[in-house]
């Protein structure tokens, strides 16, 4: 080795040795390099400087037990937060999708409320004719006349406030039922919710009285209109409490209760989006004083509540990520602090502040990104397992679901990834700026 040969030189031999050295060394390189175990530097050295530094610092952070622990804490925290978010949001998405489909199945696509005195059937026929002539109009799959009004139902001295729906033909969408739910029914009469029937011990053919708030003038003064009806069948109540207040009666019974008021036309199109277009076209063909509402208008409150619920859940569960990001800041600050001299030396060697900032940002984002990927994977796999094996089953007699469905939505995943990356990017910026701001004087000062 050169080192040994140099140490053996005596001062008197120095000039001669120094004269011989260049020639000797010029002959040696090839042999010497071959003698080493490695002839090429690590692939990392081919990376741009910020990545090169980040890769090596990431590797070195694994050797330091404390930094390693904090890195695990930061990455694990982010993974936990992300997994929790994916699970919560997919659970909510599943529940909301179920609720939405149930509600929409019971909601007309477009509902037109006609002014008092109009002949609803005639308006409906004229409307269908006009729509048939409109080339741009979406297809109308069904159009029916309804009466909707509020009244009371009396059974054996008890009364309940109900919404009375007068219909023709089959039960309207408001009472949409599965085959199992239909059960036995009479040809004509009143349909009440199964829940109400059970509570009041109503059976098929039981007598109930419907009372209208619109009085009839008699010689003895205004008297309430009272119509007796037989229970013709029951329907399964919907997923919200409001449906148990609804009853369905034949249209002529509703007319007798409310007169030529509260008449509506219910329209169904080929789809929800088409229904919105249909509403826009229908608007121009209605008598003055008519009011039109789409499925969106009819459920605005519910949809808003669902959206709000999801956002609030997102914000509250996302709080795990900032806590983990604080650990990330600690890791990076610790690394910057422990590598102070190295950073200063890099400055002295001419590394640009931008490169050092990027190196530590990359390091932070690598840790955060790992947490994001691990957490996202855990969340998606967890949601799949929970849904597939129906692992969360609420009591059937209390809730309307036999299991909680989980639906992983790409938009949710994007929102989670975006929010996590933005937050962790902001967190890493602090340490990265500290690394970039340091001047090279410290490296020299310690001399």
């Amino acid at each position: 080795m050169t080192q040994i040969s140099v140490s053996k030189q005596r001062p008197t031999e120095e000039p001669a040795r120094r004269a011989r050295e260049p020639a000797r060394r010029a002959r040696e390189p090839a042999r010497s390099v071959r003698a080493t175990g490695r002839r090429t530097p690590g692939w990392v050295m081919s990376l741009p400087v910020p990545l090169l530094l980040a890769a090596r610092y990431l590797k070195s952070s694994r050797r330091d037990a404390y930094v390693s622990f904090l890195s695990l804490l930061a990455g694990g925290g982010i993974a936990l937060g992300v997994a929790a978010l994916v699970l919560v949001l997919s659970g909510l998405a599943g529940l909301q999708a179920f609720l939405r489909s149930d509600v929409l199945a019971r909601t007309p696509h477009v509902e037109v409320e006609l002014p008092a005195g109009e002949d609803a059937a005639a308006v409906r026929d004229a409307l269908l004719e006009a729509l048939a002539a409109e080339t741009r109009a979406p297809k109308v799959e069904a159009a029916r006349v309804l009466i909707r009004g509020r009244g009371w139902m009396l059974v054996g001295g008890s009364s309940v406030d109900v919404e009375v729906i007068g219909y023709t033909g089959t039960l309207p969408a408001l009472f949409s039922q599965t085959e199992q739910e239909v059960g036995e029914s009479l040809d004509s009469g009143i349909f009440v919710s199964e829940h109400l029937a059970h509570r009041w011990a109503l059976e098929l053919g039981s007598r109930v009285d419907l009372v209208s708030p619109r009085p009839t003038l008699t010689p003895m003064g205004p008297q309430p209109r009272l119509i007796a009806q037989r229970v013709a069948g029951t329907f399964q109540r919907g997923q919200t409490e409001q449906y148990e207040e609804r009853v369905a009666v034949p249209l002529d019974v509703a007319k007798r209760l409310f007169g030529a008021r509260l008449q509506r036309i219910e329209l169904h199109s080929t789809g929800l989006e088409e229904a919105l277009d249909l509403a826009a076209v229908v608007k121009g063909h209605l008598p003055e004083g008519s009011r039109i509402a789409t499925w969106q208008d009819l459920n605005r409150g519910l949809f808003f509540a669902l959206k709000l619920e999801k956002r609030l859940m997102f914000v509250s569960v996302f709080l795990i990520v900032p806590v983990a990001a604080m650990a990330l800041i600690t890791v990076l600050a610790l690394l910057v602090s422990s590598k102070r001299h190295e950073i200063d030396m890099l400055h002295a060697m001419g590394a640009r502040p931008k490169d050092l900032r990027r190196a530590f940002s990359t390091l932070g984002m690598t840790l955060a990104g790992s947490g994001l990927v691990v957490g996202g994977t855990l969340g998606v796999v967890g949601a799949f397992l929970l849904d597939h094996f129906k692992l969360i089953s609420p009591p059937g007699d209390v809730y309307f679901l036999d299991h909680v469905p989980f639906v992983v939505q790409a938009s949710d995943l994007l929102a989670i990834a975006g929010a996590t990356l933005i937050f962790t990017m902001a967190s890493t910026a602090y340490a990265a700026r500290r690394a970039a701001a340091a001047g090279p004087l410290e490296a020299l000062s310690s001399v």
Binding site: T2, Q3, A35, R38, L346, G350, L441
Partner: protein, 235 residues
Amino acid sequence: MHSTETDTTADGADWAIEASEVFKAYRDGERRVEVLRGVEMKVRAGELVAVVGPSGSGKSTLLHVLGALDLPDRGQVRLAGQELSRLDRKEQARFRNRHLGFVFQFHRLLPDFDALENVMLPGRIAGRDPSRVAERARSLLVEAGLEDRLDHFPNQLSGGERQRVAICRALSLEPSVLLADEPTGNLDPTSAERIFELLLDLQARHGTTTVLVTHNRELASRCGRIFTLENGLLT
């Protein structure tokens, strides 16, 4: 980078380092400490000079100022024809990378990089081709007698070997000026002698203008010229 015209020496060669009327002071609480009080220094290209002086005389401060690491309060410093005060932070970094090499008392090698990679770093910072940078680094390390230590990390090297790697790193981009601040100060006499020899050898072969700050009068006497820094003045 701004370029300026260069002065020449009496024999027509360029001045590699020109410092004129350089003043530098620091605040120490309420007290103002004048470290450099009108330093004048001119070093020819390829020359090896030593700067000696008692502790606290401002040798390191002078090196900071010469190395574009700190700006003087007053006066001018021109290195390789470049007036340093005209450079912004980014340009200073670029200038240090391309024109200056530093060797410190403590090697300041990056512990996560092996010897070869440490020597490659200035080249990679300059954005040069990795294979060429590696080739140059390897040849320098072989010149320094470290052919068996290319893939050794700093903690696997002796103090002398580390300092040799640090010298190779400083010379890897063939800088115009090498600034060495007590490069042997942390070594035992034998290792210190070896390092100094290497420095002389490489300096002579590469023709690098070198400013060596040292306490060791014996080592300083082996340099071409000796500057003494006392009371803020260079004589």
